[in-house]
Chain length 227, copies 4
DNA sequence: TATGAATGAGCATTCATTCAT
DNA sequence: CATGAATGAATGCTCATTCAT
């Protein structure tokens, strides 16, 4: 409002419209399957405008991929402490909500699909997506180890195990079968089980932690509960 | 000569050549990125032949995808018993060798990429790939539970946990960054850790099993040892 | 007829049709001004056929230019002797008929126009067009010098002078003003004058030769007489 | 300051910049090969300015062509008399320097190239370039005839012969092969020979004039000598 | 006045598919 | 049965031109 001319506003808005449209089409049709005409039509912009804004199909694609990578992963960065089991529980749900979100899954499919054609994109995604979150989880687990509540040698493996136990199965299935997203009950099953196994293997006081987990599982079936 | 005329043989051979060529190109370029010309050239066949054999690009694609789904997953179907820990160790390596094979990864990328355009293919893959193996693992784990060596309520979750702990991390990374396949040392790290966590959580006699695992890990760095 | 399949015949015919159409359009519109659509339409062929036959606009262009360069210059290669003045007279008219032919002029314009974009074409034209004819003329003039009828030191300059005196003026004008081709009377004026000057400067017996030329000029106003 | 406001100055300057840029690009790429974007970029002007100043690509082109036609041909209009042979010699070099100048050749190529698309331009060039110079030469030759030093019936043919003998060969070659401009030695060869032939055919006192020419040729290898 | 932004139409090229042989 | 040859319909991209500011 303060200093951006109406033109500039228009420009930004148009840019966003294009990016959104392009993301949609790319996600639905893949890189090669997407035509610039389709994007222009969906964005309600003329083709030359597309090219003036983004230069090339390739550039448009990489721009989208590299700009979108962060947006969707900022949610669960800093698990605030209300007790370890509670923390892990809330973190798991936040993670699941992001990773199993249909748009995010489409993006992931697209990245995987074009990993060979656009290696930088795959690398960038890995670095700024999974790897960054992993680092956050590692830091948290480390703090719990220092507090004497967890035990492990390799914090990277520990963090990866947490992810894997909670999300590997539903995510893989969702990647393969897009129209069969796991419902919240299914997700709950994976989270509850994953955390149980994780605590059994890593907790310094499994009995108590598992007990606490059990209570959590029973009381709050689907904490964030959108669907 | 034993029932198949030379013509038929020729036909079969040509069919195989086409399928192989098509798989290669599809895996490298994706569905939309692949042209029938490219396939015909690689198969050294004329384009009309392609169409006579497979009707349509779509049909050719689904044919390949549905025919290839079994071939690559037959290796580790029946874990033969030489003691549970030993069994799991050998099974893990067989699994890893398959799942992290570059061709198999390309195929997986392709399936994920086209999951939206060809839902049946994703479903078929899920059913005849992961799900079928899962069933085998479930049966094995069940037998061990009945023998009193493992404890769990939900054998599906147990089997999925085993897969996840061993392969989730390296597979995801390999999907995103194709040119950075984990070497055998990295795979060993994941397998050793994954089995440790699995046994800690599921074994009825963790102390002994982990001990046995430790010896296995030390003696045989890379059991199947191709690379 | 003996060994060319009807297909091949068709192919050749089509190729010729394309080349002819392309030459026309290129000559009329220049390289950049010519669209493959226009060529395809004029040749009554589909665009993909064009591309299958000639690969690229550039390739089609160079193909035409390099193939046409000879065709039009074969006429006057061997001046057959019926006496020097008579020879020169007939040669001059053959030369003029070729060089001032509208199609040939279009081609020349095109070559000059694209000399910077396609240097090889300009070079090839110069080598196989002007330079080749020049060599023929040089040989003839040389023979006349040896027979004692002409005198000069540098036969290349002599041949170039002949060309220049006869054709330079009308050709330059025709290049600049395409719709004002010199009629045969104008050409006759240039030829008669050019030969007169040439003989005055180069003949060992100018009086007799000029006399003979005068008679030739008077008797046969436009020897080859098409227009 | 003397009547032109700074605005107007600015305008004139911009106009010149545009014309210069346009000429460069047109000469290098031809009419169709030149984009208004390219001109605007080279002139460092916005495209709408281009259109405001010159209306249309076509108009801009004709404007340039018609405005440039005179500039380059004013040099050698009035041969000042220091003796006929000397005059002709100096005139020949001035002519050659202009006609074989790379920029002038580019312009000529452009005119020839677009002669069919823009007939007025070709006509205008012919009228205000070659024809005007021709008229000057004719007047000079006429004066020498009246002074008894030359003999001829048709002064137009005489003037054209002079041009042709001197410049036809190198100019034609330069038109076809742009990167092989004749060096000064080559030009000298053509001029010396051309004048010799011209004098042989047209002088009333060839012996003396050729003698004088010989001396001139020997003493001043490249009179105007820039390159 | 000068310009950033916009566009309909067109360009060279390629695609999946089908004849005619 | 196999194929060279053909094509309508795209595809990525650019052009001359014009608004809105």
């Amino acid at each position: 409002m303060t200093g951006t001319s109406p033109r500039a506003l228009n420009r930004q808005a148009k840019e966003r419209r294009i990016l959104q449209a392009a993301l949609n089409v790319f996600a639905a049709e893949g890189y090669s399957g997407t035509s610039m005409d389709a994007i222009a039509a969906k964005a309600e912009v003329s083709k030359p405008t597309l090219y003036q804004y983004f230069g090339t199909k390739e550039q448009l694609f990489t721009e989208i991929m590299l700009s979108r990578r962060n947006e969707m992963l900022d949610a669960f960065e800093h698990p605030s402490s209300e007790g370890m089991v509670r923390d892990l529980y809330r973190f798991s749900w936040a993670y699941a909500d992001t990773v199993l979100n249909p748009d995010f899954l489409s993006l992931a499919r697209l990245i995987i699909a074009e990993a060979q054609r656009f290696p930088e994109i795959g690398r960038a995604y890995q670095a700024s997506g999974p790897d960054r979150v992993l680092r956050g989880v590692m830091a948290y687990l480390d703090s719990q180890r220092e507090a004497g509540r967890l035990q492990f040698d390799d914090e990277e493996l520990a963090a990866e195990d947490l992810w894997a136990l909670i999300l590997s199965a539903p995510r893989n299935q969702a990647l393969h079968v897009p129209d069969a997203l796991p419902d919240r009950a299914a997700v709950k099953r994976y989270i509850d089980n994953g955390l149980r196994v994780f605590l059994k293997a890593y907790s310094t006081d499994p009995t108590s932690d598992l007990d606490q987990l059990k209570r959590l599982c029973e009381q709050a079936p689907t904490p964030t509960g959108t669907a």
